[in-house]
């Protein structure tokens, strides 16, 4: 009884199922591929050696990544420190205080900011932020810095993640029912008290999730960081030192030094670490967000 159209429909369904599954499995293939590729270096060096040693000399077969891990932690952490308050305050202002015209123009503004390629951020960093660090900030603290530093990378990264964090935070604030504001205001609270005591508390999980997503982006950002962080493979001791985060390590070396044994395996391990940490960030923010949804329901 099934007509020609139904057969075509079923056929298309099977094809689409196949395509969809293939796309969904990319993440699995990636994990598997990275794991297989990083296996040799894991066999030659113990994980502790790789994670906690800072002796990076591929020619001698030493692949201690501590300096790069430290660089990544420094850069991501510092950018979080800069981006968190600024994005939170901006988001509160945009969702609670700003006149409607400002709200209206801020959206395309954020979209454009989010769309600027990281190379352009890097160019901007080299032209503005690096000289700023070199000529103003470092002399202020009485130290010499080339400007190509953790601090410069963090500032550039912070600007890159502003739109991500701000947009999600605004959405979180919008999801808070208006009745809650009305209730607090009608108890005689000022607008700021309402925000501080009611809205922020209610929005906290969402704000955390927004920040986690933002930092997972900052964490894996390669090009802009590569261009301004300085790339010296040593453990940094201050924000004004140069750093060498993991993504920059991969970008600078991959594809060139494949003749050195285990080198490409070590770089794949670095990619695997990035992959796993980003997925952990993602799961964490999902977990937080799903808990708010449950509570709201």
């Amino acid at each position: 009884m099934a007509g020609k159209r139904s057969i075509r429909d079923a056929r298309a369904g099977r094809l689409m199922f196949f395509m969809t599954s293939a796309c969904a499995l990319i993440v699995v293939f990636m994990a598997a591929g990275l794991l297989i590729k990083s296996f040799p270096v894991l066999r030659a060096n113990s994980p502790a050696q790789i994670l906690f040693s800072d002796s990076w000399s591929p020619l001698k077969g030493e692949f201690g990544m501590l300096a790069f891990i430290a660089g990544t932690v420094w850069v991501t952490g510092l950018s979080a420190l800069i981006a968190m308050p600024v994005s939170l305050f901006s988001a509160i202002y945009l969702s609670e205080y700003a006149p409607s015209w400002l709200r209206k123009i801020s959206r395309p503004f954020m979209d454009v900011l989010a769309g600027i390629p990281s190379v352009v951020f890097g160019v901007w960093g080299i032209l503005i932020i690096v000289p700023l660090v070199r000529d103003c900030i470092a002399p202020f603290f009485g130290v010499y810095s080339s400007g190509y530093s953790i601090l410069a990378a963090s500032i550039v990264l912070a600007v890159m993640v502003f739109p991500i964090i701000i947009q999600i935070t605004i959405e979180v604030f919008h999801s808070i029912p208006g009745e809650l504001r009305d209730a607090s205001l009608s108890l005689g609270a000022t607008k700021w008290q309402t925000i501080k005591l009611v809205l922020l508390r209610k929005a906290l999980p969402g704000i955390i999730a927004a920040n986690v997503l933002g930092f997972s982006r900052a964490f894996g950002e390669t090009m802009a960081v590569l261009m301004v962080a300085g790339n010296i493979p040593a453990i940094p001791h201050s924000p004004l030192d140069a750093g060498y985060p993991l993504p920059a390590l991969i970008a600078n070396n991959y594809g060139e030094m494949l003749s050195i044994p285990l080198y490409d395996s070590a770089l794949m391990l670095a990619a695997l670490v990035l992959f796993l940490i980003v997925i952990m960030f993602n799961l964490l923010s999902r977990y937080i967000l799903s808990r708010i949804n449950l509570r709201a329901a």
């Binding site: 009884m1 099934a2 007509g3 159209r5 139904s6």
Partner: protein
């Protein structure tokens, strides 16, 4: 009053994720009459209607048991082609949802997917069904405009015409006037009265007066159960069950 049944359910039970929305419904819907399904909101009226053309199974977590027979054939049996079953039944939903295309294409969509390709034939169908839905005179000069530009009342009549164009035998209408102003509602009701000479019409409504005005036959559903059914006059004037009486008198709603 002797009529033949067009659609019949046998032990129809529907549950959403474990909760039973319809319990053991056994009913016969008479041919070429208007049957109204009445009852309080959330009691399963729309569920019953959507089980008639297998739209329910598009939703998540729905379990259906029992049989729905149209002209004696079980529409839930595997050998039936679902698109043919649905083609037999036109659906009019609460709010009009014109397809995202022009007025002309809205009507021509159904005939086209069912194999009609000739321009002249399509032109004729478009005119015929728009006229049947009482919309032709209003739109004949702007058939290529997007359907979204029509007023909401016109959109609902467009949806009616669109449904008629696939030549169904049964029209399923789910509170078809609830989004419309009184004038447009009246037009739809008039269309129904005209159409019942050729079609079996099943209408879900929570407006008792509308059921009284239109229906020949009435089904009263309460909390997922079919409480009673019978000719309109009998249900409205001498209901057998206490709940039906209370609902009709407005004690419960």
């Amino acid at each position: 009053m002797k009529e033949t049944s067009h659609l019949r359910t046998e032990n129809l039970t529907v549950s959403y994720g474990g909760a039973e929305a319809l319990k053991n419904i056994n009913v016969e819907i008479p041919e070429k009459q208007i049957t109204a399904i009445i009852g309080p909101s959330g009691c399963g009226k729309s569920t019953l209607l959507k089980s008639f053309n297998r739209l329910l199974e598009e939703n998540d977590g729905v379990k259906i048991s029992g049989r729905v027979l149209v002209d004696g054939a079980d529409i839930y049996s595997d050998s039936e082609d679902i698109t043919c079953i649905r083609k037999k039944m036109g659906l009019l939903s609460q709010r009009p949802y014109p397809l995202p295309m022009s007025i002309y294409d809205n009507i021509a969509f159904g005939p086209r997917i069912h194999g009609m390709k000739k321009k002249a034939g399509l032109d004729r169908l478009v005119e015929k069904y728009l006229s049947l839905a009482g919309l032709w005179d209003e739109v004949k000069d702007r058939l290529n405009e997007p359907a979204s530009r029509l007023s909401i009342g016109q959109q609902q009549r467009l949806c009616l015409a669109r449904g008629l164009a696939v030549e169904p035998e049964i029209i399923l209408a789910d509170e078809p006037t609830s989004a419309l102003d009184p004038k447009s509602s009246q037009k739809i009701e008039e269309e129904f009265k005209k159409l019942k000479s050729d079609y079996t019409i099943i209408i879900v409504t929570h407006i008792l007066r509308q059921a009284r005005r239109l229906a020949d036959y009435v089904l009263f559903i309460y909390l997922g159960e079919l409480i009673e059914h019978g000719p309109s006059r009998q249900i409205f004037e001498s209901p057998r069950e206490q709940v039906t009486r209370e609902y009709i008198q407005g004690v419960i709603s």
